[in-house]
Symmetry: C2
Amino acid sequence: MRISNLFTKTSKNIPSDEVSKNAQLLMRAGFVHKVMAGVYAYAPLGLRVLEKIKQIVREEMDSVGGQELIMSSLQKKETWETTGRWDDKAVDIWFKSKLKDGTEVGFAWSHEEAIIEMLKQYLESYKDLPMNVYQFQNKFRNELRSKSGIIRGREFVMKDMYSCSLDEEQHDKFYDDTIKAYNRVFERLGIGSDTYMTFASGGAFTQFSHEFQTICEAGEDTIYIHRQKNIAINEEVMDDASLANLGIKREELEKVKSAEVGNIFNFGTKKSEDMNFAYTNKEGKKQFVFLGSYGIGITRLMGVIVEKFSDEKGLVWPANIAPFKVYLVRIGGEAAVVSADKLYDELTGAGIEVIYDDREAHPGQKFADSELMGIPYRVTVSDRMLETNEYELVERRDGQKMLLTHDQLLAKLN
Amino acid sequence: MRISNLFTKTSKNIPSDEVSKNAQLLMRAGFVHKVMAGVYAYAPLGLRVLEKIKQIVREEMDSVGGQELIMSSLQKKETWETTGRWDDKAVDIWFKSKLKDGTEVGFAWSHEEAIIEMLKQYLESYKDLPMNVYQFQNKFRNELRSKSGIIRGREFVMKDMYSCSLDEEQHDKFYDDTIKAYNRVFERLGIGSDTYMTFASGGAFTQFSHEFQTICEAGEDTIYIHRQKNIAINEEVMDDASLANLGIKREELEKVKSAEVGNIFNFGTKKSEDMNFAYTNKEGKKQFVFLGSYGIGITRLMGVIVEKFSDEKGLVWPANIAPFKVYLVRIGGEAAVVSADKLYDELTGAGIEVIYDDREAHPGQKFADSELMGIPYRVTVSDRMLETNEYELVERRDGQKMLLTHDQLLAKLN
């Protein structure tokens, strides 16, 4: 894409009410637009990142047999009354409204009850199990405060998956497979080594639930990590009993700030019983479905990645999810224009995603924008370097600079 | 995909309160799930169709230089007060709710004001124009009644594009390009010859707006088509003055029921003036932006396509947007299983999308399901046909049956 065609612009100014680093940088670089506290629109650059994160998550959910669908945001009262979660006293983050005839409706802050209600229509026999479904869908949460940018929104994108199993054994196998799939997701997003499977509060029917927490100063959680064992424990369940149960010692742990980027949850048959979600087993007997739920905050992940990798110059995207791989800068007159145009066509023709700074602007501004946007590779074509048939390549992550011939450049970028 | 892995099932039963043909068929075939009147979830088969429709629209919007983004559903009051459209008396389909501190918020039924508010932040000079942006986003509309299935939802997916131009001349050029892009969309979706650019009520600043209306018995509009000139006129503006203006005679027209699948709208500078959306021209003078808006109802299009092509046996998808190209049926014992498994691997390996009915079910049920789901080609592998090394291919659209050799089959499907 040519920057002259991009409607967003980088800016030094940020809304005075925006306190979070991720939102400040994403706004300055033209990736997101703030609508109100906790509510952001995604401009083309931001949408590209979001879609790439979703695609990585999609591939890994598909790899464990997930079937993608999409539920509605509008929710009916009766669905959530079955589990007592319509009540504002039980769930205090509902956005609710009313149909013309006065019927109350809600906007989904979660889809657990809605998905189960739908699946009930199809599930009959043990032959239908195991089964698991997932979606990427907006969630609306009426948070009292929202000051963490896209890390905690009032409207945000989540991947939520739900597994239905015959029994605990079948459930456990899928649960373990999903842990592996989650690890692959975080690995591919470049935060694998800083993301810990974390023991957290389990609720009514299991001792622990599992969160995936990424070390992050801007995160809202505190966890204790065990680097050697590659696990962590959430502060909320950090006591001697839990430590003993997990077989770890307090002095082996390191306290860090973190952001919860994923969670997996074993419901057992509790929710199925509440909602009468059952199948017929081989013996013709009714059995409640064993349920699991598996979330990944897509927009939150994007925010965490910004917080972790950005530096004083701006954003730094892992290559897998950068909106473009190459930021092409041209400096100089007619010769540079011809050469840069040609290189742009050549690279895009080879399937490389390039954002081409074709503006009549000062080189310093072009360099600064390439850094602010966090594009992995900056390639410069200039009149001066054309004399020696060379291109400058700078890596955003470490600032490493190289002078390359045409063939070396293509080999490097392919 | 193997049907044994698909969680949805076909059904003869439909909810008693569902009166629309499109929703009835889509539910029976396992494409959508009804959440409440006018609110539907999309199961895997339905989501695949929806995504294919979106991709066709996306390609054509990109072809006129559209930049994809995504706005938020949550809307703030102040944005819509600038044009008087926050008021329930002006817009009677808002879903509204409140933040914890009592601040009113709305759920977007349109994004016009929101998009302009965002663009204002970036647009400065005449050099920034023309520019156009689009999105695929949910709209929430608190309709009094909702009885047309996915043709008129309380929650639905729309593609909305907005163009910003220097002046009327620049606007007109883009407007004409977009009409061509819209025609290509409807052509690719298989409804080109039944879709008419239709003159409709223009509002305050132009005599006519343009709708794209598709002939459809289940549609909510009535239009008068001029087959020779390939245009139509909406009943709402059908009078002698309009006819004279368009240079057509009443007796050349044919009255039909239709569904509005798209619309394009010339705002002139009216909305820009309301919202103070201006640029600086070459002479340094402030000028209001010339605005256009261009909608396509994505879920509605899917509903119209169902209504138009389905028959007594079920859905009939145009090949471009079918969830799968081939429905593979196997009939018989071990030999058929081995042969069908092999053919499934071969076809999917060649990039052909196949849904494989690997169930132990009666052939009649498999045939009926393939018809209900509306998959373009049904291929049958049976013990009997294996004796002569033949495959049966049936086209869903016309029921045409062929016995083909392996090579003929692959040639036909590739």
